[in-house]
């Protein structure tokens, strides 16, 4: 892993964002809309404050946190798509750049995107609804970290599938993370699931993040167990998605897809 090559690919994407209004908008536009819609729903539901004392924190917090996972995943897979669209993949991989260095660069880009859009979301939630995400406290840090890790795992998986199947699979870059959303118990507790589904849900790292977050808000106790599960599952998810990515990369070299992809 050579830093100068990782930074070269990172720089290429920073140039892109610096210039592209539509790409910048994407970073800010969706968080803005999300916060508006969900924020006002929450304000409305606050009327039933007595029945659901933590509603505002639950929903807005969940929304902002979910966006972290989604942005991170996109940071990886969209960066790959950009190279595919501009027919630049062969230029990159016929240089000394390794697939691992490429992924590392997309991870950095995903952190940049995430920081921008999360800052906007957190600020808006505070401005519009007086909601302070940091109220959740210091436990926010390991939760966010786990969402980033899962975002990377899903992003790498998505990228591998696009690498193999090209344009046909492009839609995954926008959709795959959402497949995990209903299972991740973002807006409701795992307890609402029927038993078999609950078992599946608990195999998703993000589920433990959201369960953990609710536990913090309700009991003010730090949910060590959920956090341990989240880290453990993420280690597995990352290992599997990386192994899958490297395997696909080998297939791509055998089938000569680097030149054909995106056509």
């Amino acid at each position: 892993m050579k830093a100068h090559r990782v930074l070269a690919v990172t720089l290429r994407h920073l140039y892109l964002y610096k210039r592209s209004l539509s790409r910048m908008l994407e970073v800010f536009y969706f968080p803005l809309l999300d916060i508006l819609v969900w924020g006002f729903i929450t304000v409305y539901l606050q009327q039933f404050q007595k029945a659901l004392p933590h509603f505002l924190v639950f929903l807005l917090g969940a929304l902002i946190l979910w966006d972290i996972l989604y942005r991170t995943q996109q940071g990886i897979s969209i960066s790959f798509l950009e190279e595919m669209w501009s027919r630049n993949l062969l230029n990159l991989f016929a240089s000394p750049l390794t697939p691992g260095e490429f992924l590392a660069a997309t991870m950095i880009i995903s952190l940049v995107k995430l920081t921008l859009s999360a800052t906007v979301a957190v600020f808006l939630a505070w401005l519009l609804y007086g909601f302070n995400l940091f109220r959740i406290g210091i436990s926010l840090v390991p939760f966010v970290l786990n969402l980033i890790l899962m975002g990377w795992a899903v992003g790498i998986l998505t990228t591998a599938v696009i690498l193999r199947y090209g344009q046909k699979a492009e839609v995954l870059a926008w959709g795959l993370a959402f497949l995990f959303q209903p299972l991740s118990a973002v807006f409701y507790p795992v307890a609402v699931f029927p038993r078999p589904l609950a078992v599946v849900a608990l195999a998703v790292p993000a589920t433990h993040v959201f369960e953990g977050m609710r536990a913090v808000i309700q009991t003010h106790r730090f949910p060590v167990e959920h956090l341990a599960w989240a880290f453990g599952l993420n280690a597995v998810y990352l290992a599997v998605s990386l192994a899958f990515f490297y395997r696909i990369f080998r297939v791509v070299r055998e089938k000569g897809l680097l030149l054909k992809i995106g056509e």
């Binding site: 070269a8 240089s95 030149l259």
Partner: protein
Amino acid sequence: MVKPDVQKNDVVVEVEGLSKTFNGVAAVEGVSFRIHRGEIVGLLGPNGAGKTTIIQMLLGVLTPTAGTVRLFGLDVHRHRESVLGRVNFSSTYVSLPYSLTVTENLRVFARLYRLPHPEARIRELLQRFELEPTAHQLVRGLSSGQLTRLCLAKALLNRPEVLFLDEPTASLDPDMAEKTRRLLRDVRAQEHTAILYTSHNMREMEQMCDRILFLHRGRIIAAGTPREVLSAYGEEDLEALFLRIARGGSRVEAS
């Protein structure tokens, strides 16, 4: 004692029994050749003969079904990182990011190849390829000839010891094509760069290449200096030979 000029006679590319099969169909079959430092070798043959496939295997982005590729004595698939920093390529089949300017693109690749003085090198190449007026223009706005020249500039950034060019002059006007050929010959003369070159312009191949490899259906059917190959087949020029081989298929024999 006189020291032999090892530098100049170094074998930099060594290909042995190279084959590639796609879904049971052979695209390249048992191809072997060598390229020396400072040599310009032309790879020519009809559409689908296997030229692009060979170049991809030399760049390590396509795994051979059989055979070996050694660059500077190292297996390209096992020593990708060290080998690929010393070569470069340009091809009609690739492009560069459209939303970046000409200079930004070159800066990215300058970092990727870790150039010692990137800005000076970039200025020098922009000047050589007459791209200075477009330096801060987006790639999206370039003409196809300008884009081709930018890709060539990218290919020369790291002063490659071996340069792979897949139809580099395909979209250039005659004036630019001629300038580009001159430039590539200069690069070879100054830096002893070895160049493997494909083109469908037979005059260009005659002018440019020290040696040619004639490829037909994945096999090399003739190799040597253009003059040697022509006299073996009793033809006047490569154009005539090309037509004879392309139309007559593998039945054509050297006389």
